[in-house]
Symmetry: C2
Subunit: 415 residues, 2 copies
């Protein structure tokens, strides 16, 4: 017997037929003798509907009232799931954020989870009652409803799993696991049996949107065993575990996955003075306006003590960033300002690269052989990212997938 | 400066444009220096949508989870109204049922209000913050969400007004007041300036569905000054007050209003033994199956000690009632069982009739002159109801409206 948390996303809650399908999965776990808590999202589209109501009510609205409005979507699905479970002969009851309560910071619309009172929920679960819990919502010390920010239900599920000391947290979603890369680009992409938290974070932050990044960070911190699996198909999912747990798998596998992001733009400032304060002058206005800067590349200074600085941002930020940097020209002291918004980012990720050499050179030669030019390079312990021209991105993903031996030997290409 | 409770129904909350119109009315009261609490219904159609989800989830569903689901509709409008009020430069915040809390019995889906904790709400209102309160919902001692039954938001508004010791409770709705009768049948129907609680109850129970009956009962008990007025037009509404307050108006006015109900059926059992237990045997099975019996007429027994018993029920109940009574024939001991489902009920209501004679005879002769036959008669202190053939109902309403001098002298018939 185990204690497990199951989480179902919006597509798995979109209408009663899907809620019943989810309930069947819950039933199977409960009848196997497990204590089960189920964290649910709102029906697909419902949160958008509610957010739009708030925007229509006032473009700049009080986020504490926004939370009152948008948290109602998960309240509905938590109640409905309890009803459906009962109709299948199981005991179930809903626990709203304020009822448990799930404590959060008072930062409305973007609250952080602080903890959860578990005594009553655990007592109820031990008596055989399945707990259905609306994701995304909590209670601040002020006594007011909070929400965790979009996609917050994954984070709720992990927080509930941590608080309940659950044996695992199963995230049911519309994909059936984490793949070596996007199967729409590479039909021979393989589903991973296991992946480390760190790899998952790197893959998520470069565009593999299976799990919310915060939920992975929290699972890593709280040592919650995460599993991603399909709501719609019976298939083993992907376990997201610590590096220790993944153990021997690492030996065989250098690279775990390849991620890409099309939505990039590269900004270059030439002949910036290589002195303290100059680079800070570039990024201070960006930080002030909450522009997310990703890669930063600075060359060694030339004989005159000047250097080129290149960085990447989301493509949509180009107009306002160019304006900010043009305005700060005096202060920064650069010669030329330019951008390229036809670039994409390609990343290879794997804890295996910590103990292996040659990962980068495989990447560079595989891309070079196909005539794909690398504009910038940035590396972390378990990731190498490069910027390339946007038009080559699909080709580059396929080339690297083969180069690192990730291709599935026997994929059904019609699947 | 007064303290007032305003209540807006579902049609007044149907979309942001209407919520803004409601907010304008709230603003006017607040800017006149009043302390204002606003009780809201869900958007028109929303509660039906949520109820249908529950039915689809399971025909027989746990009413405590039903309450979790359906109470979300009012949560949304309470939040949105607060946002809209803020956007108009007013201070506002929502108070959910569990936040105040508004205490109810634990009878889910049909909870009774027990009281309300007012300290924090009053403090906030005194600081100039408009309270927006979702109607229909409360909190049981069990810590779970309750709802008051359909139409419960009127009752919430009255309960909030009573708890806050409000100077009055204004119910904004899609009609602009209480009329002497249905204006669709009698274009010369007049809007009443005042009506007593008792009259309102009699009119409501015979089909003038302006206010939920429970809300009028509660207002009468708690001495809350009620007013019904239009959400959509600026026009004086109708005050619903105690008999003492209405005072001199009574002198002029014998009859306050004429109500009708088409949806009636009359059941007759002939030659029932006139002995203790016989009549009880008729109504016991009906009560057990929660059939609502309205008028009951029993004649004086004949020489053999036998009597005819006639009663009325809602037309839709005929099939099962006939079945019940046929099954109980032995026990009751009647000769013949028959029904007429082509009857309608007509009622004249007025506290004036307490102190005046001739009200009934005016009714009988006015109907008789038009050849309208009266099947049954039942009276209370302030009401006379008769059953007539359904086809005469519009004619009968018009005839009585004139006979009692209720016709408006100068109505705009195109309005």
């Amino acid at each position: 017997m185990a204690r497990i948390v199951m989480k179902f996303g919006g597509t798995s809650m979109a209408g009663l037929e899907r809620i019943r399908a989810a309930a069947e999965r819950v039933k199977r776990e409960a009848e196997a003798g497990n204590e089960v808590a189920v964290v649910v999202s709102a029906m697909a589209g419902e949160t958008d509907r509610l957010v739009n109501f708030c925007r229509e009510a006032a473009p700049l609205h009080d986020s504490s009232e926004y939370d009152v409005v948008v948290s109602s979507g998960e309240q509905v699905t938590a109640g409905l799931l309890a009803i459906v479970l009962q109709s299948m002969g199981l005991q179930a009851r809903s626990w709203l954020g304020w009822q448990m309560p799930l404590h959060t910071s008072p930062t409305h619309a973007a609250a952080r989870i602080r903890g959860m009172a578990t005594e009553r929920v655990v007592e109820s679960m031990q008596a055989g009652v399945i707990a259905t819990i609306p994701g995304f919502q909590g209670l601040a010390e002020t006594g007011r409803v909070t929400t965790l920010g979009r996609g917050g239900s994954d984070t709720s599920a992990v927080a509930v799993a941590a608080a309940l000391k659950a044996d695992r947290c199963d995230i049911y979603t519309d994909v059936d696991g984490v793949y070596t890369t996007d199967p729409r680009i590479v039909p021979r992409a393989r589903k991973l049996e296991k992946i480390t938290f760190e790899e998952m974070l790197e893959l998520a932050s470069v565009g593999a949107k299976v799990l919310q990044t915060r939920s992975v960070e929290l699972a890593m911190k709280e040592k919650v065993k995460l599993r991603v699996l399909s709501s719609f198909r019976d298939a083993p999912g992907t376990d997201i575990v610590s590096e220790e747990e993944i153990g021997h798998l690492m030996e065989d596998q250098l690279i775990t996955g390849i991620a890409y992001s099309r939505d990039e733009a590269e900004v270059t400032l030439t002949r910036v003075a290589d002195k303290p304060g100059a680079v800070a002058a570039i990024f201070k206005p960006l930080a002030k306006h909450e522009v997310n800067v990703d890669m930063i590349i600075q060359n060694i200074a030339d004989a005159e003590g000047r250097t080129d600085v290149t960085f990447t941002i989301a493509r949509s930020e180009i107009p306002r960033v160019m304006e900010m940097l043009a305005a700060a020209r005096e202060e920064i002291g650069y010669e030329n300002l330019s951008y390229d918004d036809k670039v994409s980012k390609l990343s290879v990720v794997g804890v295996g690269m910590k103990s292996h050499t040659g990962v980068a050179s495989t990447m560079f030669s595989a891309l070079g052989e196909r005539g794909i030019n690398i504009a910038s390079i940035s590396t972390s312990e378990i990731k190498i990212s490069v910027l390339i021209a946007e038009e080559y991105i699909e080709l580059a993903v396929r080339v690297l997938h083969s180069a690192y031996g990730l291709d599935s030997p026997d994929v059904d290409e019609t699947a």
